[in-house]
Symmetry: C2
Subunit: 138 residues, 2 copies
């Protein structure tokens, strides 16, 4: 079963512009440095909310999986929810045993631990990221 | 400025069906009883995630504001994010002073404290609920 909500993924056409809004909403110190994740075709920036994080996601490169989302939602919007689990491989087996489609093999995510996505059609329309909790936390 | 993420609002055509999935994901005890909010045209059900909640929202009545969302997203999906503030009227003035559109007057929300929504066009495409923290909490 799932643990805490690690973050809410929010797609944006411009992290620079969105970061300005989130600095206003949560304070300057809450907004981290943006960085590229070339393997996933995204640039990301984490915002600390008191009990979770918002992950701002901007397309990186022509093949970014975010282009399709922004074509439908030009201003950006809620893209995915990410929950933590203690063991990514056990979690993959758990979803698959219940007929829920895991999209690809576990790979290293934005927080440096393994992640996978579950198909939104098996999660009530919610694209869901499953992330192994960082070691030594929780 | 904003406080903790009180909940993620997830629209669904059927709370009964979604609740079944969330019991599997977070355990039977995590899923509360569903109840109607006729003034807002929705039926809701809260799911306890370790550090926040998911609010399942089903349309209630022919004029429910959720019908439009479900017409675009028949399987359901992420509908809004709700952040807490200590004082709802101070929060309304704060958003308005920055040119962000508050939708209507504060009214009592699903947790029994005053809430309002901020226009998604002023929040990077994210429909945002602002909720006064329950007294005696936080």
């Amino acid at each position: 079963m799932l643990g805490r909500l690690n973050h809410v993924g929010v797609a944006t056409p411009s992290i620079a512009q969105s970061a300005e809004r989130y600095r206003l909403l949560f304070g300057d110190a809450a907004v981290g440095e943006a960085f590229d994740l070339p393997a996933q075709g995204v640039r990301v920036c984490f915002v600390d909310v008191p009990n979770t994080q918002v992950e701002l996601i901007e397309p990186l490169g022509a093949d970014s999986p975010i282009h399709g989302f922004l074509a439908k939602n030009p201003a950006g919007g809620q893209h995915h929810l990410c929950y933590e689990v203690p063991d990514i491989h056990a979690a993959k087996a758990w979803f698959e045993a219940r007929g829920m489609r895991v999209l690809g093999e576990p790979r290293i995510g934005a927080h440096g631990t393994p992640i996978f996505f579950v198909h939104p059609k098996d999660m009530g329309g919610v694209l869901t990221e499953i992330m192994e909790s960082p070691r030594g936390e929780h």
